[in-house]
C-alpha cells in the first residue's frame, strides 16, 4: 500500500472524526429535559461534586466509583429524597467521610443532584430486548 493511499485513509477518517465530534457537541447530546432545574446552586453543586471527588465512590449514569451507590435518581428514589440526601452529605456514614460542609454547600449539592435526577434514569430496570441485541427503555424509574 502506497504512502499516498495511507494518507488518504488517515485524513478521511480524521475528517469523519471531526464531523462526528461537531454533531455530538451539538444535536447529538442536546437532549436535556431538566434545564429548568439547573439553578445557580446546582451549578455550584456540580463544581463541589468535583472538588470533594464524590465520583471516586459514587456514580452518575453508572459512571464513576463502585464503593457508594449510583446517585442519578437518589432524589426521587423510593425511600430517599431531599432529607435523606442532606443527612448523608452532612454527617457521612461508616463508609463515607464527613466532609464538614457548610449549609450552603449541602444545599448546592442537593440542588445539583435534583437537576441530575430530572435528566434521565439510571440504573435502567424496565426495558425490552430487541432482536438485534439493542434495548428500548419501557418505563420510568
Amino acid at each position: 500500500m502506497s504512502t499516498r493511499l495511507k494518507r488518504i485513509f488517515f485524513w478521511s477518517l480524521f475528517l469523519l472524526f471531526i464531523i462526528d465530534g461537531i454533531v455530538i457537541y451539538s444535536s447529538g447530546s442536546d437532549n436535556d429535559p431538566a434545564q429548568k432545574f439547573l439553578t445557580e446552586g446546582a451549578k455550584k453543586g456540580k463544581l463541589l461534586f468535583q472538588e470533594y471527588n464524590c465520583i471516586s465512590c459514587h456514580q452518575l449514569y453508572g459512571l464513576g466509583g463502585y464503593m457508594g451507590a449510583d446517585l442519578t435518581n437518589v432524589m426521587s428514589g423510593k425511600g430517599k429524597g431531599e432529607v435523606f440526601v442532606k443527612t448523608f452529605i452532612q454527617y457521612g456514614t461508616k463508609g463515607m467521610p464527613n466532609f464538614h460542609l457548610t449549609e450552603s454547600e449541602v444545599n448546592s449539592l442537593t440542588e445539583y443532584l435534583n437537576y441530575v435526577d430530572k435528566t434521565g434514569i439510571s440504573p435502567v430496570r424496565d426495558f425490552e430486548i430487541k432482536y438485534d441485541g439493542t434495548i428500548t427503555q419501557t418505563g420510568s424509574q
Binding site: 472524526f17 447529538g28 447530546s29 470533594y52 464513576g64 439510571s122 440504573p123 441485541g133 434495548i135
Partner: protein
C-alpha cells in the same frame, strides 16, 4: 554525563508502576474494609492508584520511543534537550499531582481528579514530545513502518482528546449534564485508544526486533490493523454511555464498530510467535514471555469486550465490577504485559546486565504469580459484577445489601490484587537493580 533519556523514562515508569500497584492494593482492601488504613482514605488512594498506573503506561511507552528511534530506526532525536525538558516537566507535574491528592485537593473529574490548572503543564509536555517526535521522524524517507504511524497517531490524539476532556471548563458543556457526560466519555474513549496506539506500536516494534524481520511492520495486515484501531479510537467509545439519553445513532455506531482491533493484533502476535526460531525465544526469554502472556489476555479480554458492547448485556454489566474487570484486563493483562516486554528488552539491550540464577528464578516466579493472580482477580470481579448487575436490575435489594452479598468475592479480589503487586514486585526489582547499576557505572 549523558544518560539514555529513554532509560530515564523507563526508570520513572517502573517506580510509577510499583507506586500505582501499592495504592491500588490499599484501595482494594479499603473497598471491602472501609476502616482499613484511615490515614490515607479511599478518595485519596483511588486517584493516586489511577494516576500512577496511567503514568506507568505513558512513561514506559514514551521511554521506548525515545530509546528506539535513535538506536534502531536510525533517527537521532531532533532535540535531546527537549526530551530532557519533557522528562522534567512530566516528573515535576507528577509530584504536584501526587501532593494534591495526598492533601485532598481535587477539582478535576474522574481519572484527572487533580485541579484543572495542572492540565496545562501536562499539555505542554505533550506538545514538546510531539514537536520532538515529528521533527525526528519526518527525516525518514520512504515508507514508514506501521509503528511510526501508530506512535504519531497516539501522540496527536492524546493532545486532541486531552484538550477535549477539559471542555467542561466551558459553561456550554459544563452546564448541560447529558452533553457533558457524552463529551467526557467520547474524550476518555479516544484517549484510551491513543495510549493503546502507543502500546500496540511498541508491541509491533519489539516483535520486529526480536524476530529480526522488518517486513511484518510494513505488511498490509499491519496497516489494516492500525486503521481498524484508529476507527475504534475515533468511534468505538459509546458503550460507556449506552444508558445516557443521547441521540440513538451514537450508540448504534459504537455497537457496530465494537472491538475489532484486538482480534487483528492477536492474529499478528500469534503469527509471529508461531514463526519465531527457538534460539531467539531463548535469547529474549523475558520480553518473549510477556508478549505471549499479553496474547492470552487479549483473547480473554476480547470475549468480555464484545459481550459488554452488546446493549442487552451492557444494561446488566454497566456500572458493575465487570467494567472494572474489562479495564483491569486491558491495563494489566494487555498493556502492562506488552510494556514490560518492551521495558525488559530495553534494559537487556542497554545495560547488558547478567541476571544471577536467583534473580532469574525470582522473575519467573513473579511472572507466574502475576498472571495467576490476575486470572483470579478477573474471575472474582466478573462474578461480583454479574451478581450485582442482576440484583440491581431485579431491584429487590438495597445497595448496601447487594454489596454485602458480593463481599466474599470482593475480599478475594483484594487478595488477588495483592498477589499481582507481589508478582510484579518480583518481576521488576531485578531489572530496576540493573538500571541503577547502569546509572552508577555511567556516573
Amino acid at each position: 554525563m549523558k544518560k539514555e533519556i529513554g532509560v530515564v523514562f523507563i526508570f520513572l515508569s517502573i517506580i510509577a508502576l510499583l507506586g500505582g500497584l501499592f495504592f491500588g492494593s490499599l484501595s482494594a482492601f479499603q473497598f471491602v474494609f472501609p476502616d482499613f488504613f484511615n490515614t490515607l482514605p479511599f478518595i485519596k488512594n483511588r486517584p493516586l492508584h489511577v494516576s500512577l498506573v496511567v503514568s506507568w503506561i505513558f512513561l514506559s511507552a514514551i521511554g521506548g520511543i525515545y530509546y528506539y528511534l535513535p538506536k534502531y530506526c536510525n533517527l537521532p532525536l531532533f532535540s535531546r534537550k527537549m526530551a530532557v525538558a519533557h522528562a522534567w516537566l512530566f516528573f515535576i507535574t507528577g509530584l504536584f499531582i501526587v501532593t494534591c491528592f495526598l492533601f485532598g485537593k481535587f477539582g478535576g473529574r474522574e481519572y484527572w481528579e487533580f485541579p484543572a490548572i495542572l492540565a496545562i503543564p501536562i499539555f505542554i509536555s505533550w506538545i514538546i514530545f510531539a514537536i520532538n517526535y515529528f521533527k525526528t521522524v519526518f527525516k525518514k524517507i520512504g515508507q514508514w513502518p506501521v509503528y511510526l504511524w501508530m506512535w504519531a497517531t497516539g501522540i496527536t490524539f492524546f493532545l486532541f482528546t486531552f484538550a477535549e476532556a477539559y471542555l467542561w471548563v466551558i459553561p456550554y458543556f459544563r452546564d448541560h449534564l447529558i452533553r457533558d457526560l457524552t463529551v467526557q466519555w467520547k474524550a476518555y474513549g479516544a484517549l484510551t485508544g491513543s495510549w493503546n496506539m502507543l502500546v500496540y506500536g511498541t508491541a509491533l516494534f519489539v516483535m520486529e526486533r526480536i524476530k529480526g524481520d522488518e517486513s511484518m511492520a510494513r505488511s498490509k495486515l499491519a496497516f489494516w490493523m492500525y486503521l481498524l484501531g484508529l476507527t475504534n479510537l475515533m468511534f468505538g467509545w459509546a458503550h460507556h454511555i449506552y444508558i445516557v439519553p443521547t441521540a440513538p445513532w451514537i450508540r448504534y455506531l459504537s455497537y457496530a464498530i465494537s472491538m475489532t482491533e484486538l482480534l487483528i493484533l492477536s492474529k499478528i502476535i500469534w503469527n509471529w510467535k508461531s514463526s519465531l526460531e527457538q534460539a531467539k525465544k531463548d535469547y529474549y526469554f523475558l520480553p518473549f514471555r510477556f508478549l505471549v502472556a499479553s496474547d492470552i489476555w487479549i483473547f480473554l479480554n476480547i470475549i468480555l469486550a464484545i459481550l459488554i458492547s452488546i446493549p442487552a448485556i451492557n444494561v446488566y454489566t454497566h456500572g458493575t465490577h465487570i467494567t472494572v474487570a474489562h479495564a483491569m484486563g486491558s491495563a494489566i493483562g494487555i498493556n502492562t504485559m506488552i510494556l514490560l516486554s518492551s521495558v525488559l528488552f530495553i534494559i537487556n539491550d542497554v545495560t547488558k546486565y547478567e541476571y544471577s540464577k536467583t534473580q532469574k528464578l525470582i522473575i519467573r516466579v513473579g511472572f507466574w504469580l502475576t498472571n495467576c493472580s490476575l486470572l483470579l482477580f478477573l474471575i472474582f470481579l466478573t462474578i461480583a459484577g454479574t451478581q450485582k448487575g442482576i440484583m440491581v436490575v431485579e431491584n429487590k435489594f438495597a445497595f448496601q445489601e447487594i454489596m454485602q452479598k458480593i463481599s466474599p468475592y470482593l475480599i478475594s479480589f483484594a487478595w488477588a490484587g495483592l498477589g499481582i503487586l507481589i508478582g510484579l514486585l518480583m518481576t521488576t526489582i531485578p531489572p530496576l537493580i540493573a538500571i541503577v547499576s547502569y546509572f552508577r557505572k555511567k556516573n
